[in-house]
């Protein structure tokens, strides 16, 4: 039976699922990194233009870090439908994943920025730099570096959390397993075992990368 389950066609299905998983996760992390950093700057930088937006960013982060991704995906799906926006399910998933990702990454970068001693800001100002010059050349390079280890950990979680996209029918790795289960109900154990191994192979190298990054950071 195992030979039937893991026939070439089915392995290709799992492969496509894994590719979708990686697609969702990478777009999510990228969106999170870019917009998360932007939000973190808005959140921490005391510019008059940001005064109204700062509490909004705080609210955004607090809410979306405490929302299960599953609910968020469903909410996005029906929310977009209600707003008469027609997009493919993949886009819905990407939007939902990005919303979460931006919230978590914002938190990581914010922690990085705020962990830098005030003295670094002082040193930049003392040279006559504008606030934004200090932010761009002095603060952000350091803060982003500090944010890398937790972000690698987050990427790991994100890859696992893409499994929730199953619920709107997206064929990522977990859903591929579910499809196989319908074809071979008795082989569930092996199917999901294989799916688990696949996730493991994707995620485990990331934990090594994360540990490595953390160790290098500590040495600096």
């Amino acid at each position: 039976m195992i030979e039937n389950i893991f026939s070439l066609t089915n392995l290709k299905l799992l492969g496509r699922g894994a590719a979708m998983t990686l697609l969702l996760a990478s777009v999510g992390v990228t969106a999170g990194a870019i917009f998360g950093t932007v939000l973190a700057v808005v959140r921490t930088y005391p510019a008059r233009a940001f005064r109204l937006m700062t509490p909004l960013v705080w609210l955004y982060v607090e809410i979306f870090r405490r929302t299960p991704l599953l609910i968020l995906i469903l909410l996005t799906y029906f929310g977009l439908a209600l707003a008469k926006v027609e997009v493919s399910n993949v886009v819905v998933a990407i939007v939902a994943i990005s919303i979460t990702s931006i919230a978590y990454m914002c938190e990581n970068v914010r922690a990085g920025i705020e962990s830098l001693p005030r003295a670094q800001w002082d040193a930049g100002f003392a040279l006559g730099m504008h606030g934004w010059q200090t932010l761009f050349y002095i603060i952000l390079p350091q803060a982003l570096r500090l944010a890398i280890p937790p972000s690698i950990g987050f990427m790991q979680s994100l890859i696992k959390d893409t499994s929730m996209a199953t619920i709107i029918g997206i064929v990522e790795l977990t859903h591929a397993g579910v499809i196989l289960r319908y074809r071979f109900p008795l082989g569930s154990f092996y199917i999901f075992g294989a799916v688990m191994i696949a996730y493991f192979l994707i995620c485990y190298p990331l934990s090594w990368a994360g540990d490595f990054a953390e160790r290098r950071l500590r040495r600096e």
Binding site: Q120, D122, A126, G128, M129, Y137, P141, Q142
Partner: protein, 248 residues
């Protein structure tokens, strides 16, 4: 012409509080071009705060600061930035930028604030590094340097901005005795070249050697101010008590 003896920097009635804590209770100070003025006094007397008020890292609550005869309005962001191009500061904790090499640390101010060309900025940076014996460290990262080397780089970084006045805030307090010496020698060299400096220090032997005027601060006020020998040999009880405690 009295240009040489006019005060390039003047503080009048500077007060500063942090919340309920009144740190500066009315500071009057004049610094002439080419002078080295030392601020001494017990911890908490407000010396660092006074220094930071000069280049706007702290905005005084009241009082006036005159640079080259013109009053500086520290509440204006642009004036704050402007004056920092003329008055440099070196901190106790060097505050080098850990993610940049030594030469990047030194050139970023001139490039981004003074608008210098990269080539020109690097040339001057290397000139200064050579002058102070750190030429081989140009490409090193700060954490590869000793404390004394880092502090000297911090001073060079401030010098690269071609300041008219250099402020030094207890720049040797965080250093071991051997490393202290190399930094103090650098400062003495700068003084000999005629750079105007206001420094806060606990190194009385160094102050005696290098400073021209000394101001003794206690509890937010300047208690005694005058030529270095006068102040350090004064009969004033509070000053004596402080000096004895320091020099043992």
């Amino acid at each position: 012409m009295t240009g040489e003896n006019e005060a390039i920097l003047r503080l009048e009635g500077i007060t500063k509080s942090f919340g309920k804590l009144v740190v500066l209770k009315g500071i009057d100070l004049a610094v002439r071009k080419g002078e080295v003025v030392a601020l001494i006094g017990p911890s908490g007397s407000g010396k660092s705060t006074c220094l930071r008020c000069i280049n706007g890292l702290e905005v005084p609550d009241s009082g006036r600061v005159y640079f080259r005869g013109r009053q500086v309005n520290f509440t204006n962001r642009h004036e704050r930035r402007e004056i920092r191009k003329h008055i440099g500061i070196v901190f106790q904790s060097y505050n080098l930028f850990p993610h940049m090499t030594v030469e990047e640390n030194i050139t970023i101010g001139p490039r981004k604030v003074l608008g210098e060309e990269r080539g020109e900025a690097l040339r001057r940076a290397h000139e200064l590094l050579e002058k102070f014996g750190l030429a081989d460290k140009a490409r090193a990262m700060p954490d590869q340097l000793s404390g004394g080397q880092q502090q000297r780089v911090a001073i060079i970084r401030a010098l690269a901005m071609k300041p008219e006045i250099l402020l030094l805030d207890e720049v040797t307090s965080a250093l071991d005795p051997e490393l202290t010496r190399e930094v103090l020698n650098l400062i003495t060299q700068l003084a000999a070249e005629g750079l105007t400096m206001v420094l806060v220090s606990h190194e009385m032997a160094f102050v005696r050697r290098t400073a021209v005027r000394v101001a003794f601060m206690e509890a937010g006020r300047i208690v005694l101010e005058g030529p270095v020998n006068e102040v350090l040999n004064t009969d004033n009880e509070r000053v004596r008590r402080f000096l004895v405690a320091l020099e043992g």
